[in-house]
């Protein structure tokens, strides 16, 4: 999951980083193909270059060696709501995506393990708007960002369908069948006509993940 998510990030992009696995993915990207990735944490660290994997978004390792540390008013008003930072702003929500990030980020990538309880057919309470809200599109509701464009799971990649806004199966990890993915979501999962075969992590990515970023296995298992 971390590797697949990391691949979504291009060098030089500006990313709002959430806690959990996205932290790992962003720092993996920065440690491999995207050394100029600019990490922004809601706590106020901009251009963070943490020497150890931060557990929370307020970790002191985010401050040391960053490009800029500002107050939270500035993070939300000047960096997020400002909306004119040239390169696409990507948000990887962790266990909770803030409403404003879901509204404003130019695109959002969701990283989550498949589990019917985590992927119910309907949620009781919306905090981060997706592609359709009460049947209405994001544009109709005046949201500037494109919203969730991909869901990166531990077995497959889902993508937002352009016409319906529904998350559909788009790519499978090695050794995974489409039915395995269906078992992890709580609604009849539509699928693209052609499913992509997702490449597994390469040697460099595995080494960086296991030896450099997460030697204590905070996120990785096996």
């Amino acid at each position: 999951m971390a590797t697949v998510a990391a691949r979504e990030l291009a060098d030089g992009e500006v990313v709002f980083v959430g806690i959990g696995l996205p932290n790992l993915a962003c720092n993996l990207a920065r440690g491999t193909h995207a050394p100029h990735l600019v990490l922004i944490y809601e706590s106020g660290a901009v251009g963070a270059a943490p020497e150890r994997l931060p557990v929370s978004i307020g970790d002191p390792a985010l401050v040391t060696g960053s490009l800029m540390v500002c107050g939270m008013a500035d993070v939300f008003q000047l960096f997020l709501q400002n909306g004119r930072i040239e390169r696409p702003t990507v948000r990887l929500p962790g266990s909770g995506g803030a409403a404003e990030i879901a509204v404003h980020a130019r695109r959002t990538l969701i990283v989550a393990q498949l589990n019917p309880r985590a992927f119910p057919e309907r949620v009781d309470f919306v905090t981060s708007p997706g592609q359709r809200c009460g049947g209405r599109t994001r544009r109709e509701l005046g949201m500037p960002g494109a919203g969730p464009v991909k869901v990166i799971t531990d077995k497959a990649i889902l993508e937002a369908d352009d016409a319906t806004g529904e998350m559909v199966l788009a790519g499978l990890y090695p050794g995974v069948a489409a039915d395995d993915v269906q078992a992890g979501v709580g609604w009849p999962l539509a699928r693209r006509a052609r499913l992509a075969a997702v490449a597994p992590p390469g040697e460099t990515e595995l080494r960086v993940l296991r030896e450099v970023l997460d030697p204590k296995k905070l996120y990785l298992n096996g």
């Binding site: 600019v38 251009g47 060696g65 800029m68 540390v69 008003q77 004119r84």
Partner: protein
Amino acid sequence: MASGKVMTMRDAVARFVHDGDTVVIEGFTHLICFAAGHEIIRQRKRDLTLARLTPDLIYDQMIAAGCARKVVFSWAGNPGVGSLHAFRRAVEGKAARGTPLEIEEYSHFGMVARFSAGAARLPFWPLRDYAGTDLPRANPRIKTVACPYTGETLATVPALNPDVTIVHAQRADAAGNTQMWGLLGVQKEAAFASARVVVVVEDLVEESVIRSDPNRTIIPGMIVSAVVVEPWGAHPSYAQGYYDRDNDFYVAWEGISRDPERLRRYLDAFVHGVPDRAGYMEKHPGLAERLKAQERWSEGVNYGF
């Protein structure tokens, strides 16, 4: 990539300041980039809308030089000294050239709020202000709104999104990550509100210097279009840690600006008659020694964890 942003003042002004633009050269008394204003005058930019809280001598000079069509401001005087006479002549219709200067007047908080709204990409900013003043009568862009929570009436000012903002600072790296200390004014907000940002610095430093003290970074490189290295670029304004404000000059400006002919001769000698800021400094022998800052170093802090 990053090194592509470092350029001369001449190139930065040529590329990023266009006739008709809304231009901001901010800095509240501190870090006002006179060098950029002078280059704009030399390149004969026209029809500019100049915005600053206090126009200061720099806009007085640019108005006299014929660059401005309009000024957006909150207090148009020479602090502690008197009036900005070129500004006054232009507004009062007594200037030698062209139509009267258009003005749009707020208060300091109003201008700060305009930049704050612009920076946050909001259409306006609410203030508890202006009630009982005549400013809304003079400026119909100051409006009111009923608070949806309390019902009270609040004043509003519209967002200001300049075409280009020129910021003077002590130091930046080649990517434009800009560090300032001392009076910060509203430079950060103006920069974030602006379509293009030109940063002018006393010193160009390595990225590692920036990263060693990230709380001092006020403007991130990601919003900066150009970085110009121009020592003494703020004179007669000042740069904390580098040089003092030339208070004698501010006092002398009263006499220079009051007489249009004397002002014209000043511009010919010190703006049109020099190629750049280095040339300007050569025409001020002894100035650097007189104004160079003393040493008052802060106590360093530990960013370790």
